[in-house]
């Protein structure tokens, strides 16, 4: 499912000034099955842009078209994986994972549970299916959240720095797993991050945002073959270029 972002402006009312412009004149096309990273310093409006795509907020002007339809409100077609842990604490892992399927009434109960168990097995969480979220580590929680969205067959995954609270080792592991599932399910992924390394590792296309007000500073295509090696020359070179790019914005 492709996403077209057309002339998006977003401003908030603030106490000091009348209007605080967060995003200005954003135009961007995200192709079906593409993995795009929105990269930028904090305060550049990358999370705001993601929320607009999700339909959780409305733009001040302009429109976002996902799969030919203007985004007006949140939908199961565009799952969001939040930076904060977002599992329902009163449901077990299995109940959390099948939540979306129940909401969209896809499949019978038995089919859903079987599918959920298959997915949980594939990320090594099957032993925790009857555990509650508070019994899981941060990395496990985010994996469950991702499985929950994948199982729902959301064609678009919107991810807001989902791995930022994890230690480096876990972060790298989950990034690799994300690439794995993305290849398998061919979702369109929009991934917000402030981590250059993460963006270069994951993205087909890196959209660099600038702040005050947030606008697109540059779009970088990443042609490095997967699986990407962090120590490879081209990886390091691209990382350096992007860091320089970001510095110029400041």
């Amino acid at each position: 499912m492709s996403i077209e972002i057309k002339n998006i402006n977003k401003s908030f009312k603030s106490k000091k000034t009348d209007q605080l412009s967060v995003l200005e004149n954003i135009n961007l096309t995200i192709e079906d099955g593409e993995l795009v990273c929105l990269l930028g310093p904090s305060g550049c409006g990358k999370t705001t842009l993601l929320r607009l795509i999700a339909g959780l907020d409305q733009p001040t002007s302009g429109e976002i078209v996902a799969n030919g339809e203007v985004v007006k409100k949140p939908s199961g077609d565009r799952a969001v994986i939040f930076q904060q842990y977002s599992l329902f604490p009163w449901l077990t892992v299995l109940q959390n994972v099948t939540f979306g399927l129940e909401m969209t009434k896809k499949g019978s109960k038995e089919e859903n549970i079987a599918a959920a168990e298959r997915y949980l097995t594939s990320v090594g969480l099957i032993d925790f299916k009857d555990s509650y979220p508070h019994e899981l580590s941060g990395g496990m929680k985010q994996r469950v959240a991702i499985i929950r969205s994948l199982l729902n067959h959301s064609p678009i995954l919107l991810m807001d720095e989902p791995f930022s609270a994890l230690d480096m080792q876990n972060r790298h592991k989950l990034q690799a797993q994300l690439i794995g599932v993305w290849k398998r399910f061919e979702n369109t992924i929009v991934f917000v991050t402030h981590d250059v390394d993460e963006a270069v590792y994951l993205a087909d296309k890196i959209v660099i945002l600038d702040k005050n007000p947030g606008r697109i500073a540059n779009i970088v295509d990443v042609d490095i073959e997967r699986p990407r090696k962090r120590e490879s020359e081209e990886f390091i070179a691209l990382q350096e270029t992007i860091v320089k790019d970001l510095d110029m914005g400041d």
Partner: protein, 249 residues
């Protein structure tokens, strides 16, 4: 192991001391006239005869019926209303002034009207209990609904949940701990209200028993009634604390 015994024993020290001193100043030395304060042995004798005659049980049950009646009625009104007011900001704005004015009125202040409207018996007491618990339950429920984590609501929406399902599957379970706290506060108030209500407009229950015993020069029964209320309070508290432990979110 030793620690365990220690922790169980320590809370008992003070009650034992109090009973000893109580015995010493009343039946032990006769310092205090039994009509001013009955001694522990008199109280035990009263308790025993009240248990044998079945009066203690009937009066306790009578009080509990009223407590639960009022509490259930208050829950039926306050929980759905609290969900509505917590969810629709406009409704809350409309209701907030009325709630703030009615809430601080002590439930016993409703006694005159309760007798005017419902006469004597079960109903005036239930009404007073209702007035006493409806506001804490309402306020806690509103708070619980409003405190639902925004991220959970948004997650549910992006997983395809309708507004109704967001309410049913996210907001309600998330508000449960607050509602239970509201009920816990409510039941404490209900117990207090019941006794007061029974002392005025009733012919049965522990409050009635306490008051009539005093005028019949039977202070032992009064003390038994008071301790019975304390015991009921502890049991409720224990049950609700257990319930809260089970709600881990």
């Amino acid at each position: 192991m030793l620690d365990n015994y220690r922790n169980k024993f320590i809370p008992l020290i003070l009650p034992i001391c109090i009973i000893l001193i109580w015995y010493l100043i009343t039946e032990g030395t006769g310092m205090v006239n039994p009509y001013i304060l009955p001694g522990p042995i008199t109280v035990c004798q009263s308790a025993w005869s009240l248990i044998l005659s079945g009066k203690l049980l009937t009066n306790t049950l009578d009080t509990l019926y009223k407590v639960f009646g009022g509490l259930i009625l208050a829950s039926i009104v306050a929980i759905p209303l609290g969900i509505l007011l917590g969810w629709y900001k406009t409704l809350e704005d409309i209701a907030t002034l009325v709630i703030s004015v009615l809430r601080p009125i002590p439930p016993v202040a409703w006694i005159p009207f309760s007798i005017l409207w419902f006469g004597i018996g079960m109903f005036p007491a239930v009404f007073i209990i209702f007035m006493g618990c409806v506001f804490p339950i309402l306020v806690y429920t509103i708070d619980g609904v409003k405190r639902t984590d925004k991220v959970l609501i948004e997650s549910a929406q992006t997983l395809g949940a309708s507004d109704w399902n967001v309410l049913k599957r996210v907001i309600l379970p998330s508000a449960v701990p607050y509602v239970v706290s509201g009920l816990k506060v409510g039941i404490g108030i209900a117990l207090m209200c019941t006794i007061s209500a029974e002392m005025v407009g009733s012919s049965s229950g522990l409050g009635y028993m306490i008051l009539t015993a005093t005028s019949l020069f039977d202070p032992g029964t009064t003390v038994v009634g008071m301790l019975d209320i304390g015991l009921i309070g502890i049991i409720f508290d224990f049950v609700f604390t257990k319930a809260q432990d089970r709600i881990f979110w």
